[in-house]
């Protein structure tokens, strides 16, 4: 099977280009993406050190309210983005999954800090740490650092905004990779 053939019979679930009447729909999509990207309400969720830096990001010096992120919701139903601030351990993993499932679509995930990205300093010789939150839920943006500086978190949020504005959904990127590798 050559590449061309593969692209014609795209992966199931791929978005098929519409024949006509695309302008209105795509403009509407742009508007919706603009709204979504500019109104990312984070879930109040912090497990360890990174949560303090998340608070710092909310504080007056870094002030994520400028971008409209300050409406932190305590209930997952009303949140758009879950910032995994801290280590996820085996006991917490089902809870994190559940929180993610409780969130309403569309939902985004930021893995903040080394622990949430890969297990970080707790990678070796630990019996209870999940080696990266992406073993549990899909992650959109990773932030490096232990803990990351508030600027890094802001950058991650802005990156997420750019990602949403571009209209790239996680599924689409996965599919593109799949097609490319074939």
């Amino acid at each position: 099977m050559d590449v061309k053939d593969n692209q014609q019979h795209a992966f199931p679930g791929d978005v098929h280009p519409t024949a006509s009447g695309g302008i209105l729909v795509s403009k509407l999509d742009d508007v919706i993406n603009w709204a979504r990207s500019n109104s990312l309400w984070p879930l109040v969720f912090g497990t360890s050190c990174c949560a303090i830096e998340m608070m710092s990001t909310a504080s007056a010096k870094y002030d994520w309210s400028r971008f409209g992120f300050e409406v932190a919701r305590a209930t997952p139903r009303q949140a758009d983005v879950i910032i995994i601030a801290g280590t996820i351990v085996n006991k917490m993993a089902p809870v994190l999954k559940r929180l993610y499932d409780q969130m309403a679509d569309p939902k985004y995930v930021i893995a903040m800090g080394a622990c949430a990205t890969s297990g970080g300093p707790f990678f070796y010789n630990t019996y209870s740490v999940v080696k990266g939150a992406d073993h549990v839920i899909p992650v959109d943006v990773y932030v490096a650092g232990c803990p990351p500086r508030p600027e890094a978190l802001l950058h991650a949020l802005i990156t997420l905004q750019a990602k949403i504005k571009a209209g790239d959904k996680r599924e689409k990127i996965v599919i593109e990779k799949f097609v490319d590798s074939n």
């Binding site: 919706i32 500019n38 109104s39 007056a60 309210s65 400028r66 409209g68 139903r77 009303q78 569309p106």
Partner: protein, 359 residues
Amino acid sequence: MEFSLSAIANQVDTWLHANCASWLALTIEFVIVGLLCIALFAVLGLVLIMMERKVSAYMQLRLGPNRVGPKGMFQTLADTLKLLVKEGLTPNGADKFLFNLAPFIVMIAAMLVLAPIGFAKDFVIWDINIGVLYISAISSIGVIGILMAGWASNNKYSLLGAMRSGAQIVSYELSAGLSILTIVIFTQDMSMGQIVASQADGWWIWKGHIPVIISFIIFLIAVTAETNRAPFDLAEAESELTAGFHTEYSGMKFALFFLAEYVNIFIVCAVGATLFLGGWMPLHIGNWADFNRIMDYIPSSVWFFGKTFFLIFVIMWFRWTFPRLRIDQLLNLEWKYLLPISMFNLLLATFIAIQGWYL
């Protein structure tokens, strides 16, 4: 020609009656009024939420939203759009009918109260002759929606929040009602139009002596509690009950609750402005004819919205300054302090009214 909302309304009315049958004209007017109400609510929601965020940012040494659109003005627009297209979840164990009905009840109750409020001179939807009674009756319907939401969510936090809210609103209705009665005693009329008219020579807060000042303070406290705002936000109590009665709501249904909260604030502040600060009535001082004439040049709608937004700012100020009360302290405050004080205050007001000591 000076700007006047009533003139526009009259022109529309005359034109409609000249061109259509009277029943059609009336129907069209109903539709226009309905649309205007909805538009007003949408705009109010956007403006008030933006104002809240800016006020909180100011109190907290922050900047507040400033990236979306010029000076961040489209921030709340983006939020609303996002909530519109966000998935609306209904939990499995929920009573689906009540769960979906609750936000609309809260919203409709908030909309109904709009009827007797005069936004400008001669610009009122329906100047009912028992306006004050109507307001205090309708404004307590909203709590049914909150109780419904809490019960139907099948969530213990929601239930606790709703029960708290029920206890709170039922109690604080009393003080709010009694403090409104003070004005009714002075005006000897229940129509909102008459109450405003009676303040032509000075607002009640100036000429009503001590009883009106006391009842104004009690009114402010009581309506803050009735709208579930901090320091009386026990129904939501973010640090205790995550989000209280609307814990399980998402998307547009949550947005309705969110909007209703701000519309309610606007309405209670509008009522407060009408009763105590003269509604659309400009600032008149005794017989300073020149001064009064200058004040009259400012459109009455500006007066009304200015006063209302001042009160809204005060209520927001409360929220960002005070810690939350505990449920027993909240009820103690009402039943042990506010209610006896307002009853005594009513007695005092009656005495002053009988003696005719007000200006």
